[in-house]
């Protein structure tokens, strides 16, 4: 499969940045142990999944306001079918890490991520989430959420404007389109598909967490 086979409405492949990384990802999927070919059924499923990415309402600071703007009337991510923001991580598909993640917040974010059900995606929104941004030199800020959870799409900006977030969502849609849900590695615990945390050789990037349990009245 080639990057140019992924069709996104009213966007051309050249309009997207970082096609190289996506092509590399596809190559890895195809040869890296799984032998994944995206079959017609996969295409239907991926079409459905890519148009129904429900975000978790998660915002720590400034970027959260821009996230609210994306949800509001003018930019309206409902057009992509993303508007069902779920407050419960179990029902969400994507987490927009919008805002600074501090060292006190980092384990909470990790737990939130673990509480989400597979397949799950992470979008790092804004300078803080990408690299620590303005607070790179601070003693209490995590420089990039990819230190805690695997990130699928990075959106720079401080904060990124709403259209930039929509662009990131389309990038995520492209990433979803190349995966084959039936042939991905399975979680040995419950047989669920693991999409977001594996290496090309099938080993997990981050160990499957054992925190899938209820912390009483926990940090939902």
């Amino acid at each position: 499969m080639e990057v140019k086979d992924i069709k996104i409405k009213s966007m051309k492949t050249e309009d997207f940045r970082d096609n190289e990384s996506l092509q590399k990802y596809i190559d890895e999927l195809e040869k890296g142990g799984f032998g994944i070919k995206v079959a017609p059924l996969d295409k239907v499923i991926n079409w459905g999944r890519s148009y129904s990415v429900w975000p978790l309402t998660f915002a720590t600071s400034c970027c959260g306001i821009e996230f609210m703007c994306v949800a509001a009337a003018r930019h309206d991510f409902a057009r992509f079918g993303f508007e069902v923001t779920r407050n419960s991580p179990r029902q969400a598909d994507v987490i927009f890490v919008s805002g600074t993640i501090t060292k006190k917040m980092a384990p909470v974010l990790r737990r939130l991520y673990d509480e989400m059900s597979e397949p799950k995606y992470v979008i790092a929104v804004g300078g803080c989430a990408v690299s620590g941004g303005p607070f790179k030199s601070s003693y209490h800020v995590v420089d990039g959420v990819d230190k805690i959870i695997p990130v699928d799409v990075y959106v720079p900006g401080c904060p990124p404007r709403p259209e930039a977030m929509l662009y990131a969502m389309m990038q995520l849609q492209r990433k979803i389109r190349v995966e084959s849900i039936f042939k991905m590695p399975k979680n040995p615990e419950n047989g669920s598909v693991i999409l977001s945390k594996y290496n090309s050789d099938g080993t997990l990037v981050t160990p499957a967490s054992e925190t899938k349990q209820i912390e009483e009245g926990g940090a939902e």
Binding site: T60, S61, C62, C69, A73, T100, M105, C158, G217
Partner: protein, 541 residues
């Protein structure tokens, strides 16, 4: 002022007046409590700010105090302890309730322990954090260690405090935060309506709230420490990340503080533009406040309407300043660039539009019997409590406290415009709600008066290539959308500040949650939180 000084001298022999220009008094730490009590009796009932400063050889605590009845009065009280290893200072939280959180903050950042303070837990950092970051000898390099476990959030957490026993020895006491049988629910850190990453532990009886313990620090970024190693033009951008909803106003505060310290004269044009931008920003902030409060009460449509109309302000900002949320527009000495030719027209179109929309808001939400039934007589904040907690801004004005800095100490072009300070005297949720909508209209009036009169001329004063602030201590207050925002700046004459501290109006708002919300329902907690309109990153800094 002389009278007050005499009064303090009569209480404490160790008192010295430090500065001739400013009202700055230093007292020995032995006499601190006595002096503060005397001041409180004299009507100095509003503790604006409490700051700790690490002077290496001693640790200084600075109190900024004012009178609620006569807000123009302003004094600085100082005390210090030379015991840098184990600093202990008597608490004033029994005199001014607002000192409670400030003192916890000073403990968290400087390790200063306060005698008789009921709650000496860390405020922002994790309980297992090592060191006191704002100490000068703290290793500021971003250490790698990211904690992998959520710190123990036992509801029966230990609350340490220190008191003197009858021999004058310091003893450490421990109490429990919640009883073993209390039903404690965690709200946050990630919760849709805590307006950011605030963590509230709420003890419930059925749906009724018995006690709330706010837990901060999930977005503590160490802005104050970072600023100590930055030059003045560099650190401006961080002020907008404090309280992102009124970024311009915060930036205005720091700019003015530096300008005043340097003795810079700001062109009239810049002052007018800044005032208009401040007011636009206030409108945007109040719109979000309104929208989020409606959302908290379950009216998502109202939320979307508010956000829709806010976008018009974002357009105005983008056109002139180039940024949406973070305008990055004010610089030391004026504004970064001249206003866009479309600016005036756009603002003029916006004013009647918003007026029409506000009428719709009133019909849609204010008049709604469900909303009224929930808001009226709920979340009562009495004027005395507002003053004691230092809850200024719209929240204080809803309780009838005249506390608008724009009126008390006019800055920029506020002395040239005619506007009303909105005062309500009920102090319940609907008053706080109405204040915001009425302030939007008042802001529109201010903008209307200024927009045609923007004077010609420079938009930026001549500023030396390297901004250096003369040695001294400065405090600048502005009225931001949440209340009395202040910048305390201590300079040693260098190109970066020695200590900088922001007085956050949101912090006092959160400290008021517990007294306001007792014996209300969970749904009210969310609604009252919305009506107090706090922004968490401003608290955590």
């Amino acid at each position: 002022m002389e009278k007050t000084l005499k009064m303090i001298q009569s209480v404490s022999s160790s008192c010295t007046k430090i500065d001739a220009a400013d009202v700055m008094v230093s007292v020995d730490k032995k006499d601190l409590h006595k002096v503060c009590e005397a001041l409180y009796k004299d009507g100095w009932d509003y503790l604006i700010n409490l700051t700790a400063v690490d002077n290496v050889e001693n640790i200084e605590i600075v109190y900024h105090i004012s009178k609620s009845s006569d807000m123009e009065k302003f004094m600085v009280l100082k005390t210090n302890t030379t015991d840098v290893e184990n600093p202990i200072i008597e608490t004033v939280s029994d005199i001014w309730k607002s000192a409670n959180l400030y003192e916890r903050e000073a403990y968290d950042f400087f390790g200063v322990r306060f005698l008789n303070h009921p709650d000496m837990r860390r405020l922002f950092l994790r309980p297992d954090w090592v060191g006191y970051p704002l100490r000068k000898n703290y290793d500021n390099t971003p250490n790698e260690g990211i904690p992998s476990k959520v710190h123990d959030m036992d509801a029966c957490e230990d609350v340490p405090s220190i008191t003197l026993d009858r021999h004058g020895e310091i003893v450490e006491n421990h109490t429990k935060l919640f009883g073993r049988n209390e039903y404690v629910v965690n709200f946050g850190p990630q919760h849709p309506s805590t307006h950011g990453v605030l963590h509230l532990r709420v003890s419930l009886e059925g749906e009724t709230i018995k006690k709330i313990d706010p837990n901060f620090g999930y977005i503590h970024r160490g802005i104050e420490k970072m600023m100590e190693s930055m030059t003045y033009p560099q650190m401006l951008f961080l002020t907008e990340r404090l309280d992102y909803l009124c970024g311009s106003m915060n930036r205005h505060a720091l700019c003015m503080c530096v300008e005043k310290a340097m003795g810079l004269e700001i062109p009239k044009r810049a002052e007018y533009i800044r005032t208009i931008f401040d007011e636009l920003n206030r409108i945007a902030s109040h719109l979000i406040g309104w929208a989020c409060m409606c959302n908290d009460m379950g009216s998502i449509t109202a939320f979307i309407y508010g956000m829709r109309d806010r976008e018009k302000i974002m357009d105005i900002f983008q056109e002139t300043a180039g940024g949406r949320l973070m305008t990055n527009y004010y610089v030391i000495g004026g504004v970064a660039q001249d206003i866009h030719p479309n600016f005036v027209n756009r603002v003029k179109e916006f004013i009647p539009y918003l007026r029409k929309m506000i009428k719709e808001y009133h019909t849609l939400f204010t008049g709604n019997p469900i909303a009224r039934g929930r808001m009226i007589n709920c979340g009562l904040l009495k004027k005395e409590d507002a003053i004691a907690l230092g809850m200024s801004g719209p929240n204080g004005r809803a309780s009838g406290w005249h506390c608008d800095v724009r009126k008390i100490a006019p800055y920029a072009a506020y002395s040239e415009v005619d506007f009303k300070e909105i005062l309500h005297d009920g102090g319940d949720t609907i008053d706080r709600y109405m204040i915001r909508l009425e302030e939007i209209e008042e802001s529109l009036k201010i903008i209307e008066q200024l927009i045609d009169k923007i004077p010609e001329g420079d938009f930026r004063a001549k500023v030396p290539a390297i901004v250096k602030v003369p040695a001294g201590e400065y405090y600048q207050r502005v009225e931001n959308a949440r209340g009395d925002f202040g910048v305390y700046l201590k300079s040693t004459g260098d190109k970066s500040p020695y200590r900088i501290k922001f007085r956050s109006p949101s912090m006092v708002a959160v400290s008021g949650l517990d007294p306001i919300c007792r014996d209300t329902k969970i749904a009210d907690l969310i609604m009252i939180g919305g009506s107090l309109d706090y922004v968490i990153p401003c608290i955590d800094r």
